[in-house]
């Protein structure tokens, strides 16, 4: 384990940016989101949760796939280049790191998504332990340890220092590249880090959603959950916007569309939302027709279909962004609790 004084972080970012692309939480017009580092960027490591997760760094909200150009009678197809530059995503949290695991199972299984795979190959994740978890956090429910992010490098802020521990080969390589700014640690430092981890764990136990039970949510309850009359009640306040899906670290659905600009057509993909009326509206024209069905889909996907296909892993990391941002104050926690209460009454 190494350490660096927090006041030297700007120097660290500058050094990383010499050899890597660098994305980190940046405050712009009052909101903190992951963005490319620059000398004048307002880096914000104090905000626990960026509005959007760090998903964009690996699976951007919009990206071009290829462009078809017409010149005279000739047509040419120019595929978008895959990511070739190594980059670092600094300041992710344990929940967002789990989010990448969820995305990996989708995009890295056959047929591999080459755009995503290239970014995963070239990306190094430096994650921070969650100094002060918030009431909307429930990562522990999904087995995520907010004090020990499973990233390439795990960082632990404690006092005036940031402690740095490489956990993978990529992490070791990054550590080598910035070693000139890192200091060795001693026993006392180890004690500080453990104290910080303990403090995080203690606080997590006090959070209101800590005892949320996932009992009854697995791949075997498909029909029972799907046919429940509860959905008719639960969906009603839903505005059918895409906020929950766009701030989510695991929502992975996308649409592919064409943008026509005179003599060229650009084929792009962008995040889609199962909350939208045209979601999965393909040639067959037979997509989900009611908001209840769309609403149900989101939670069935996260808590039933995904675990059924992925050895029981849920497609929710408990980051709580949907809890914070839903305009109608709906969220996955309320859905889980509603089914739990119903079970109790039976």
């Amino acid at each position: 384990m190494y350490k660096i004084a927090k006041e030297n972080l700007s120097a660290l970012f500058r050094l990383i940016a010499e050899t890597y692309g660098l994305y980190l939480p940046v405050k712009k017009a009052g909101q903190t989101n992951f963005a490319a580092w620059s000398e004048d960027a307002e880096v914000d490591l104090m905000t626990l949760k960026t509005v959007k997760s760090a998903k964009d760094a690996f699976f951007p909200q919009s990206e071009s796939l290829y462009t078809v150009k017409k010149e005279g009678k000739k047509m040419s197809v120019e595929p978008e280049a895959l990511k070739e530059q190594n980059f670092v995503v600094f300041g992710m949290k344990a929940c967002d790191v789990r989010g990448l695991e969820v995305l990996d199972k989708v995009f890295l299984s056959e047929p591999v998504d080459t755009f995503y795979a290239a970014r995963r190959d070239h990306g190094t994740v430096v994650a921070l332990a969650c100094h002060e978890p918030e009431e909307t956090c429930f990562c522990k429910v999904f087995g995520v340890d907010a004090a020990n992010p499973a990233s390439d490098v795990a960082c632990f802020p404690a006092g005036e220092e940031l402690y740095w521990e490489a956990l993978t080969e990529k992490g070791e390589a990054l550590t080598e590249a910035v070693k000139s700014l890192l200091a060795e640690t001693d026993e006392a430092d180890g004690v500080s880090v453990e104290a910080e981890k303990d403090a995080i764990h203690r606080m997590i136990e006090k959070l209101p959603y800590m005892n949320l039970s996932l009992e009854g949510w697995n791949g075997d309850v498909l029909s029972e959950k799907f046919d429940s009359p509860l959905w008719e009640e639960l969906y009603k306040p839903c505005l059918a916007c895409g906020t929950c899906t766009f701030v989510c670290p695991t929502c992975q659905c996308y649409d592919i569309k064409d943008y026509t600009a005179g003599n060229s057509v650009s084929r792009y993909r962008c995040w889609d939302s199962c909350m939208y009326s045209d979601f999965t509206m393909m040639a067959h024209g037979n997509n989900r027709t009611s908001q209840m069905q769309r609403f149900r889909q989101r939670f069935m996907h996260k808590l039933v279909y995904y675990p059924a296909n992925n050895d029981g892993m849920y497609s929710c990391t408990g980051c709580g962004r949907c809890v914070e941002k839903c305009p109608s104050a709906l969220n996955i926690v309320k859905v889980i609790k509603a089914f739990q209460n119903q079970g109790g009454e039976k």
């Binding site: 017009a29 509005v51 959007k52 978890p133 009431e135 059918a240 916007c241 895409g242 766009f246 309320k334």
Partner: protein
Amino acid sequence: MQELINRAKELLADGTVARVLGWKAGDLPYNPEPAYFETAEALEDFVYNGFCGANLSKYMIEASKMEGKTMVCLKPCDTYSFMQLIKEHRVDREKAYIAGVGCKGKLDIEKIRARGIRGIESIEGAELTDDAETLKIQTIYGEKSLAYADGMLERCHVCKGKEHVIFDEQIGESKETKDAERFGEVERIESLSPEEKFSYFQSELGKCIRCNACRNVCPACSCRKCVFDSNKFDSSQKANVDSFEEKMFHIIRAFHVAGRCTDCGECSRVCPQGIPLHLFNRKFIKDIDELYGEYQAGADIDSKAPLTDYTFEDAEPSIVGKRG
């Protein structure tokens, strides 16, 4: 709140209404959700406090199609939206029993979070009956406090007043919360140079994630199918690319609701990225006031809207050039 619940129970019991549209207690101190209640028993979860900011008018479009009347709880500012929806024939007045509920300003959890208050366990002072000027917030990191006014939604600082413009009965007291000029921020932006204005809107709209929350919550956005949901044209309307939404989506939307927007502020309340979207609408309202005379959408049923009416005194298109 108890008075409201009792009244709701009476109206359900005597068959005046088939359901009540209000707010259901959340699982955190600040997240009640809009909800329908059909029985006295269900009303046990009913809540009405400082966090019930959601404007329920738009839900009445769907509720108007349901069997029987709906008792809908509308705050003074919400009634303007409802009136406007009547005017646009989008809700059925006969299907609504309007409980004009009192309001002392609604709270914005984002404003509270912006003060660095995290780990919230309980919030005192958010009840309507509370005269407290201060919110006492218990967090897992200790007790915090905040002046009620500092936690209020932007729209409450420019409150339209305590009057319900339409109601069947009024329940609860309201309080004047206006402490800022409605057009203050618009005037500040007007005074900027074109470059500064462009950069301001670029930086604000650059945050847009095209979640459509602003559109979906907007009572004036009541088209059955929005043009932006069409999959028939090859534009980038679904992607959050700079070239499109920064310049088009929000501006088109603002034009579409101009003269109909009551300035209810829901667009800004729900924006996950904190974009002050209401400023577009408010600029249009200010322009309409200046060019056609003062007009408040949703204030009445009969008046002709300035942009859909024609008089000889109307401003000519060339006014754009003259005003700069």
